[in-house]
Amino acid sequence: MAVFVATDVESAVQRLDDRPDSVVLAGGTDLMVEVNDGRLRPSPDADVVAVNRVAELRSWRHDSAAATVTIGAAVTYSEMLDEPLATLAPALAEAARTVGSPQIRNAGTLGGNLGTCSPAGDGLPVLAALDASVEIASVAGRRSVAVLDLMKGPKRTTLEPGDLIVSFTLPVVDGWQGYAKVGVRNAMVIAIASTCLVLDRQRQRVGLALGSVGPTVLRVPAAETKFAAALDWRTMTAERDAVQAFGDGAAQTAAPIDDHRSSAEYRRHAIGVLTRRLAARGLDTAGRAA
């Protein structure tokens, strides 16, 4: 095993191309756990390409004209909690606050969260609910893909060997956004069910994404459209029935499984509760501001 510490995107993707077995290493909180555990043995002639020194991946920028924020793949959860980024991407900050422990948040990154693509990855429902796009670089050049199109299943993405996640671009939303999760205990919990809700006043659009209740993060298009139609976007209010139906719709879309952390039935129930709770919180906050 050789390790290449990349300092720019171009040298990183060149190296990934030169050694097709290579793996990208960011914070190591998923990858190195697997390596130390013996579950993953990089082949002797594979390279590890460390990206935590690539400035473009370590930084973020706000484009106020486009109303977007672009966050480098190797920005850590702790950095997502710092202002002003936390205010520009509040649901992401909320999700970041629930990841692991301080030491994990100081090392773990959004690029690594997508690279692992666990259905329980806390950053992923936020990216999905916001319709975020991801910029990917390879020796062939750069391309931009919807995050939702990249997530295929547990630990499966459509990333090709040689692909490097560069950054995520998310809209700065006029309205409300929030994240909530249920775990088995308070400390270092992997979500057994999670939801991210976005109420975009300007586009009159509802985005709801569910984590831990399917092979990958799920969106809930039918329930989103119905709730958007039931919402009074001027006053940011909705009938109680509409909120109830929204939660029911989300729970129906969930496709949970039984495992050692929870039962499918409890997960489905939790999705309904989390969805209603977020909707109530969002309408309360946005309604008061309206």
Partner: protein, 154 residues
């Protein structure tokens, strides 16, 4: 591969196998064995050190990822004259340790927590230390020690 870094204020350069972990550099190459390895899968926090001022688990970082960085280990916490860091002193005063295996990691995580939040509540301390496991104390005296240290810091 050459790795140059500062540990507890002193610059070092090592020629290492690329796959060397940061915790191996610290323990085996720098000879600083205060940093413990409890799990090597980023779960227990025994290997916590400060990397450029922030607490991280050194068992899941490669040493080369710390090239050019400033690392502080438990050995770097006391002053040169031997006066213990307020967090170390508080762990002693409040009996925040029994076997002591988790203590270096606890002290590193706690001092990082206090740097960010100088007057934490009991709850803040418990949340701030959730990445550090202790199989002896039941945490009560550890939390007390951190709260005591926060008073000493003010």
């Amino acid at each position: 591969m050459n790795v140059t870094l500062t540990i507890n204020g002193t610059a070092h350069t090592y020629d290492l196998e690329p796959r060397t972990l940061l915790v191996q550099l610290i323990r085996e190459h720098a000879g600083l064995t205060g940093t413990n390895i409890g799990c090597d899968t980023s779960s227990c926090g025994a290997c916590s050190v400060h990397l450029d001022g922030e607490a991280v688990k050194s068992c899941t970082l490669l040493a080369v990822q710390a090239d050019g960085a400033d690392v502080t280990t438990i050995e770097g916490m006391a002053s040169a004259d031997g006066t213990m860091h307020p967090v170390q002193q508080a762990f002693m005063d409040e009996h925040g340790l029994q076997c002591g295996f988790c203590t270096p990691g606890m002290v590193m995580a706690a001092s990082s927590l206090l740097a960010e939040n100088p007057s934490p509540t009991d709850e803040d301390v418990r949340i701030g230390l959730e990445g550090n496991l202790c199989r002896c104390t039941g945490y009560h005296n550890i939390v007390k020690a951190v709260l005591t240290a926060s008073g000493a810091d003010q």
